[in-house]
Amino acid sequence: MSLLEELYRETILSHYKSPKNFGPLADASVSIKGDNPSCGDQLELLLKLNGGRITEVRFQGHGCAISIASASMMTELVKNKTLDQALELTRQFKAMVVDGAEPAPELGDLKALAGVSKLHARTKCATLAWNTLEEAAKEAGTS
């Protein structure tokens, strides 16, 4: 299977075409914008928090299939997790797409993005939502 076939599969396609948790979120506790200035991808991550737990999460913005699918799957995964759990998942995700580590089972469908580790030019796309999540966690921690 070619790298393209490995990466651009049904999972990614469906999340790209109809992203989950996409759109505004009224009364968000934290909203953080993230962008990749070199490529113009932009997204905004909106979280509702309750006692350190993410009770609601949505995102909006625009980007390539990899960044949108990654954001979409991320929101599904971190919903109802604590911020600490979400940060642990972020580390596992980055280990997979940046360093090429075996996908942690906790990452579920996100393992569809494992091929990104072989495409250095695209790791920034895959990690955009996650970097934004880290920023949001920092913001939540300090507010």
Binding site: L4, L13, G40, G63, C64, A65, I66, R122
Partner: protein, 406 residues
């Protein structure tokens, strides 16, 4: 022109990567052997600081550096005293902003740019606007990718102190009628600055004929090494201008509390310059002149016409931007269906085709096009028709691969 198939043999990178189809010369060009060897030769046999030592080696280094200045003057149809070595176009434009814009412009003055500018010709002016209160205006880009010159009368008020515009767009490939705009601007007494980052590598440029005051280029886009570029300026203007950076090499006399400055061009070359790079840039200019700038332009033109015709005919899902006609250089920004440019570029890369994806440092233009990003293929003297064919065939495979996504 000598066939591109033969010219390729001058570029070692293509021998090292025989499968690569490099279509990103707009970002940076590949380097011919003579340029790579000039760098090595300089360090092996000539290296010393310039304008300093009384010893022979330093004299040799200075001669080589000044010889490069003469070559760049010949390349641009200028006087050698008007050639300032800088790092790149970005630095050249910033030099003008710091040495002239921030000092001279005042609240109420206007700066006229265009909607197709590279960030290098926008962001420095934003600094000026913030610090001086001068106002930025832009000549609009029409649907066909050309400047809307009908708006020039309205935009070119008596308050416009400077018109700074690109000679050729790095996204649309549009070659702007700089001489015509410069003439109108001069009638209003405005300074004219030309961003030649894309024109200088690809077409004959005669700076005096352009009627501009300044012209900026990047050596690395015209077969030279990174780190050396040129700012050309009319001598009377340079003479009136204060320095940008202060330090060694640019002075006449220095006391503890004050100094007087050297004449141009030294006045604008503070500190030890990129000597080897400047020398190699001179060699690159000579190499290009040997092939002939008009020949290179014709070659780019024929490839872009050929590529556009094939895309129109065989890939209706591909949308291209920029004008059709003799005022269009070898750059094709495009989209494929509703796909994001990055996904297209990644897929092309899997077929060995190197294209750029993103906003290409022209966000206002992309905003105008209603897009966050485009993919971009660009051609140069070493690009062959076979490569254009491989690009188009690969694009068809990408279309096939993503057919459910389009």
């Amino acid at each position: 022109m000598t066939s591109a198939y033969l010219i390729r043999a001058d570029f070692p990178l293509f021998a090292a990567r025989p499968e690569l189809v490099y279509l990103d010369s707009t970002a940076t060009s590949q380097k011919p052997r003579v340029v790579i060897e000039a760098l090595e030769h300089y360090y092996r046999e000539i290296n010393a600081n310039v304008h300093r030592g009384a010893y022979d080696l330093s004299v040799q280094a200075t001669l080589a550096y000044e010889e490069a200045r003469r070559k760049m003057a010949r390349f641009l149809g200028a006087d050698e005293r008007e050639i300032i070595f800088v790092r790149n176009t970005t630095e050249a434009l910033n030099l003008l902003v710091y040495a002239w814009g921030l000092r001279v412009l005042k609240a109420g003055d206007e700066i006229l740019l265009t909607e197709m500018e590279h960030h290098a010709n926008l962001v420095p002016w934003h600094l000026v606007a913030v610090h001086t209160g001068a106002k930025i205006k832009a000549i609009p880009v029409r649907g066909d990718g050309r400047l809307d010159l009908d708006s020039l009368d309205r935009l070119l008020t008596d308050r416009v102190r400077v018109v700074s515009l690109t000679h050729m767009s790095n996204v649309l490939g549009t070659v702007n009628p700089v001489a015509q705009i410069a003439k109108a601007a001069k009638e209003k007494g405005a300074l004219v600055i030309v961003d030649g980052a894309q024109s200088a590598p690809h077409m004959p440029v005669d700076v005096t004929g352009l009627g501009a005051d300044f012209f900026a280029l990047s050596g690395h886009k015209m077969c030279g090494p990174t780190g050396a570029g040129v700012l050309w300026g009319r001598y009377e203007m340079l003479e009136k201008m204060q320095p940008f950076l202060g330090g060694g090499e640019m002075i006449n006399e220095v006391y503890l509390e004050r100094s007087s400055y050297a004449k141009p061009p030294q006045r604008f070359e503070a500190g030890t310059p990129a000597i080897a790079e400047a020398v190699a840039l001179g060699v690159a200019a000579e190499y290009l002149m040997g092939i002939g700038m008009q020949n290179i332009w014709q070659h780019d033109r024929s490839l872009v016409d050929y590529a556009l015709a094939r895309l129109d005919e065989e890939l209706p899902e591909v949308k291209t931007f920029g004008p059709r006609g003799p005022d269009r250089g070898g750059v094709i920004a495009f989209t494929l269906g509703g796909l994001h440019a990055h996904d297209v570029a990644t897929a092309l890369d899997q077929h060995g085709i190197a294209v750029r994806a993103g906003h290409h440092c022209a966000q206002p233009l992309h905003r105008k096009l209603g897009l966050a990003a485009t993919a971009r293929a660009s051609f140069y003297l070493y690009t062959t028709r076979d490569e254009v064919d491989r690009f188009i065939e690969a694009l068809k495979k990408v279309r096939e691969f993503f057919k459910d996504w389009l």
